[in-house]
Symmetry: D5
Subunit: 77 residues, 10 copies
């Protein structure tokens, strides 16, 4: 099992749309709009890093309004 | 109650338009054109952080000419 | 109630120490070592933004090895 | 009369000290700890830009823990 | 009276055009093409910061080929 | 199994020392000095992301002369 | 013989396509999708630096979705 | 006489075209494709800085595929 | 003859000292404290680029409190 | 044979010392002090990339006052 935080930058004014889109995508945990340099932070839980990479592509980067994502896999809790 | 400063970058030549647009939007306090890396700084006062996030989206990022915003919630005065 | 993600950069080789220190501090939720430009991501839940700011100062930035933190308050889930 | 926002970065863990120090310095308006890339935002009101520059030096940059300031004079409200 | 340096980035190949355009605009002093990260540096002298802000908008940012400007008001000589 | 590239910045003049130190540490694959913004790139293979994180801390960041590392876990080949 | 790592940034959502395209191009070794600021890392082996430069152009930068590449030639193993 | 290095960033895949175009332009010395953050480095020799600036505009920035140039005049050898 | 703008970053709180020091150094024209990412901007006039480079070293970078300078030679007025 | 440009950043005021030191080191071609974000640019010619990497370490990064170097191997002329 691998978990990651995905830090997401969106087009101006699109954060709520991205939250809504990503929230219902497969493999996604909590999705939150935040203030600061990033607009949305999503949590992902995947069977392994291969599934993790695929989930970022399919469930996050596919959302209209996403400009750039930075995936931060968790190495220890 | 939560307050925030919103640091705004605009397209070249659009700062005055953005000030004018944001100034009349709901939830907005003082709006100022400034010199330096940011073009406009707006103050927001909201009932809670959820309203704050919504105000940035609806009242600031919706203004034509806004390229990127950086919201800085105040944690203590 | 306000929640935030705190993105933490540490001195090289200090991420595990920071996780350990921050994990037991008051007001802190999940704390994870991550890969990428940030070294540790911590979750905070506080009564309001004033408490949030105080928790970042007292429970995160006080940890030896912390170089810089970027607090991202959640505006909507 | 000229007004400015001063965006302040502090050493980790020093934001509250900087707020306290700057708040009581001459020429300073509201001083707030904030989240995001900046740690403190101060407002200054000065007779002219010369006094403004002097106030940033004497009342803000003199505070222990201040690493870097970015002064943003207001050009229009 | 307030004076400022305006550091200007232009589209590749447009520096000479920008110099020519800005040089004849109202409120502008010396305008120079330079080498380095900035392409053009202009000097402005204005009655106050409000006029300064307006001059940057009307006389500099209006020039075709201007991508981004950074205005640096002079606080002391 | 998880693999990662670790992009390493070193103090000026320390790249060869870092290569030598990291090369003999446990869990490390190929280690190469490179030109460009990074000075050394190391490959790691670990049982899971927890071991990966621990290997970066123990086998890379412990090397004298390492200033900052950026770990890039491989999600698909 | 010269070898290099090529760090590749892609348009959001295009990493898998880029991996697929680059993998089958001439002169390319391992190609991996990764997390972090870069999206794909490719290894190249070439007869000399001239062939290396040509391979980056023809086999990597030609892939649709590639935004920017950073080639890091290996100077020692 | 003044000499300068011009560090050139190009669109992905255009470095060879830019080398070819710039190489035959007037006032240009050696032109090389390079690896790293810059794609091409050109040397210029000009009668004075005014000619230098004009050569960058006319002989380098005019080349299709050039995104940004950074001219570094030589002050001493 | 060659002229240049020198954009100067200083330690926090040292801008006035740097202005005072640089103002009286040989080869220096107007020296101004400014707001924004740079703290001081100095003008230099030199017989040629060799003298220019020497003046930056001897008259600007020698000033206590100077952290980094960015010299922008003027190529056309 | 492989050639490279080495872009060098130095401590403030140390560029001339670095030029002097690097100029007499083995494997070094032209060394020039320049204006802009880099302070010195050196040319290197080496038998292969391994020698190139060693020359940067031994002949450039060993010079007192060198803060950071960026080596740009030439891939085609």
């Amino acid at each position: 099992m691998v978990r990651a935080y995905v830090l997401i930058q969106t087009d101006a004014g699109r954060a709520a749309d991205v939250v809504e889109h990503v929230r219902h995508a497969p493999g996604i945990g909590e999705v939150a709009a935040v203030t600061g340099p990033y607009d949305v932070i999503a949590q992902i839980e995947a069977a392994d890093v291969a599934v993790l990479g695929r989930t970022v592509l399919d469930s996050v980067q596919s959302a209209p309004g996403v400009v750039r994502t930075l995936t931060c896999p968790i190495t220890s809790l």
